[in-house]
Symmetry: C2
């Protein structure tokens, strides 16, 4: 007799039951299929990398949160995102890649976050990036929202808004109107939704902005209206800053082309308050919010950057990309009661229940169904009829095929609707066309 170790998993790790897992996979598959529909190429990199690679940029939260260990005399770490491995991949294999390189990667990443409800230490990211060699057309920035739109329309989590901004506009504007710490200002206005205008004013004052500057900043971020109206208002600010002008030109082009991609105006909005961190993005930035669940925050974010792989190569590799943090999204939508749990907790479409000495005929029937792309399983165990049906019920199946001696003799099957209890005798061909 062994000693029993009480079964458990580590805190901060998500593990799903079959019904939830099937729903999770359905969402993951929609994301994957959409990425492939737009011609993105799958990449699958090791979960473990050399620490010197993952920490080439160094510093900050990342280094504290990383799972780092040694085996033999090798210093290695679990990846904490999919972007650093992408940079390393492109730098390592650039000779064998075709640019612009459109890659998608759906995989798990690891961060030793503080243990807290809704925070995960292992989570799926679903990323796409388009990497140019030397340069990359701004039209790529307009294609990205159309991909976000396709995904969230299919996912059917209710109305959503893709928010878009441009870092050059922010940088140019703040450089023009104030000498105070730009980073601190961006962080403050990013909080507008949460803390309100009065508090934002106070914080800007603390940062050292003058009253007149604060007025201009608040006027700027309160610019509202249709996308064309916002572009008009930005133009009317008459900011004579090169970076601002370049950013406005980019944003105008992006807005123009997004319309061409048939993203409805309702789902796409310029939002001058989004900033997306400080040092990575250099142009277009995206956030996506579910209108009915603003508290969830952004469910799909990203942007344009000038140089993907500066720590691994001297080649200039500009890119644009987005990421969906699927594990957290799934958790939050479940908490919000928004995930409609799949009806079924199996991949079988139908359960075959043999009654009596009919196993060979049942096996044969299963083979016929599978040849016709109908997934199924047979209840092989010896058990009372009630137990067999209860198995099908618990799997959430709509149909069972019952096979008794009579069915076998007449080369038919009985198809039972497990919800209504209705039962009809059908030929195998009829069952196939009914279930298909």
């Amino acid at each position: 007799m062994n000693n029993i170790v009480k079964p458990s998993i580590l805190p901060g790790f998500m593990e799903l039951l079959p019904k939830e897992q099937i729903e999770f996979n359905r969402i993951k598959d929609i994301i994957k299929e959409t990425y492939e529909m737009y011609g993105f190429i799958p990449v699958d990199t090791p979960l473990i990398e050399k620490s010197e690679i993952l920490l080439a940029k160094g510093g900050g939260e990342t280094e504290k949160q990383i799972y780092r260990f040694t085996k033999g005399d090798t210093d290695m770490s679990l990846r904490f995102d999919l972007t650093v491995p992408l940079a390393r991949y492109v730098a390592l294999h650039s000779e064998n890649l075709n640019f612009p390189f459109r890659r998608y990667h759906i995989g798990k990443v690891y961060r030793g976050e503080r243990n807290q409800r809704g925070r995960f230490r292992e989570f799926y990211q679903c990323d796409i990036d388009i990497i140019g060699n030397g340069e990359l057309s701004i039209i790529n920035d307009a294609e990205i929202p159309s991909i976000i739109y396709s995904i969230f329309k299919k996912l059917d989590f209710g109305p959503f808004t893709i928010r878009i901004n441009n870092r050059k506009i922010l940088n140019g504007f703040f450089n023009q109107v104030t000498k105070s710490d730009k980073g601190a200002i961006l962080r403050t206005i990013d909080k507008l939704d949460k803390i309100g205008e009065t508090k934002v004013k106070e914080e800007l004052k603390e940062i050292g902005a003058y009253d007149a500057e604060i007025e201009r900043i608040l006027d700027f971020i309160s610019i509202k209206g249709s996308n064309d109206e916002v572009l008009g208002s930005l133009k009317n600010l008459n900011i004579e800053n090169e970076e601002f002008i370049k950013g406005l030109e980019e944003l105008s082009l992006v807005v123009h082309y997004i319309k061409g991609f048939n993203v409805p105006e309702d789902n796409f909005k310029i939002d001058l308050t989004i900033a997306r961190g400080l040092d990575y993005y250099t142009g277009t930035i995206y956030e996506t919010t579910l209108n009915e669940y603003p508290g969830i925050g952004s469910v799909c974010s990203g942007g344009r950057y000038d140089n993907l792989a500066e720590y691994y190569t001297k080649a200039k590799l500009p890119g644009v990309g987005i990421s969906i943090g699927l594990t957290r999204l799934f958790y939050q939508l479940t908490e919000a009661g928004f995930i409609k749990e799949g009806k079924s907790s199996t991949t079988s479409k139908v359960l075959i229940i043999p009654m009596g000495d009919v196993m060979e005929y049942s096996i044969d029937t299963a083979g016929r169904l599978r040849e016709n792309n109908i997934s199924c399983e047979i209840y092989f165990e010896e058990a009372k009829a009630k137990k067999k049906f209860s198995y099908g019920d618990k799997l959430g199946l709509e149909y069972a095929i019952i096979i008794g001696e009579e069915e076998k003799e007449n080369k038919v099957v009985s198809l039972k609707n497990l919800k209504t209890g209705d039962q009809v005798k059908l030929s195998i061909e009829q069952v196939i066309s009914k279930l298909r």
Copy 2:
């Protein structure tokens, strides 16, 4: 300017280029779809588990090879297979599972193997198991080979043989004929193919078997013929050992039902020399070999066990399962020149090439194609025509759609076959029906 860290990955980790990755994923998808066709349920467990869980069984190679580390004061490890996590999952969630529990799991596992060509420290396993609660019908053991058959038939790696044996037959027979160390005998006869009969005899003698015993053992493992002939010969041995008799009964039933599952006799063979390790399996055991590449060894193995989760629960959970070590298989088939690299290194079916001021019409065309499930991408960059076509060529695409001002005006597109150079003007509807 940053210091450049030379991009590289850890030794023993596989990373693929796009063309290889697409072929790898195609194989992985066939395995997944077949598992689902038989009603197996997806399970996805954390890659990191508590060390006390993974090492509950303890001892041996596993403990030396495991990636084990601490974060904070938690002792954790990367999973080294998918079976231990399954045992922990079933023990932890048994109240919420429906038995027999049919689960599949395709995921990466980690072993700090000696650094050696063809050995991987991170590799995919593709597992199915059927777990009973208390008991599990022997017919499940006959279904497994039909799943192996479906997969390797679709994979099209040439002729293959599913070898089957039963541990009870081996145990019963050896207990009957000799008092020497059974484990040592099994290990020796497992090497018959490699070292030949003379050497096997010598080793058996060293183990302490008498000459008469060695004769009986060699007679036993040289039993040949059709499956029915082998069963007949085993019966004619008249071994009066309870375990042997039980094993023979099981094997006879498995052979009987496998035929029902339409596995051709050519693909399925009783092989009394396969033993599959020593302490885990208790009944049916499987190995699968590619007839043209016997050197690769077994590409899909598994068997029946009495008790899945004895380290985590007192419940008796018998099961039967198989595993495909996909990373090693892919590597070996590539080395053998057997992997037909995909023609294409992208998920796009077609590349749209705009020539001139036709971007909006090109974007619109792409939308129409995607609505009709034809994956595509647009070459957005400004470049000479030659560069645009070269991009399509390098992706290995068969077709490009060329859109110039004339095409735009006439609401048509030009479809160019990139292999032959042929080009025709077609309406969008015509292109859709051609590419679909």
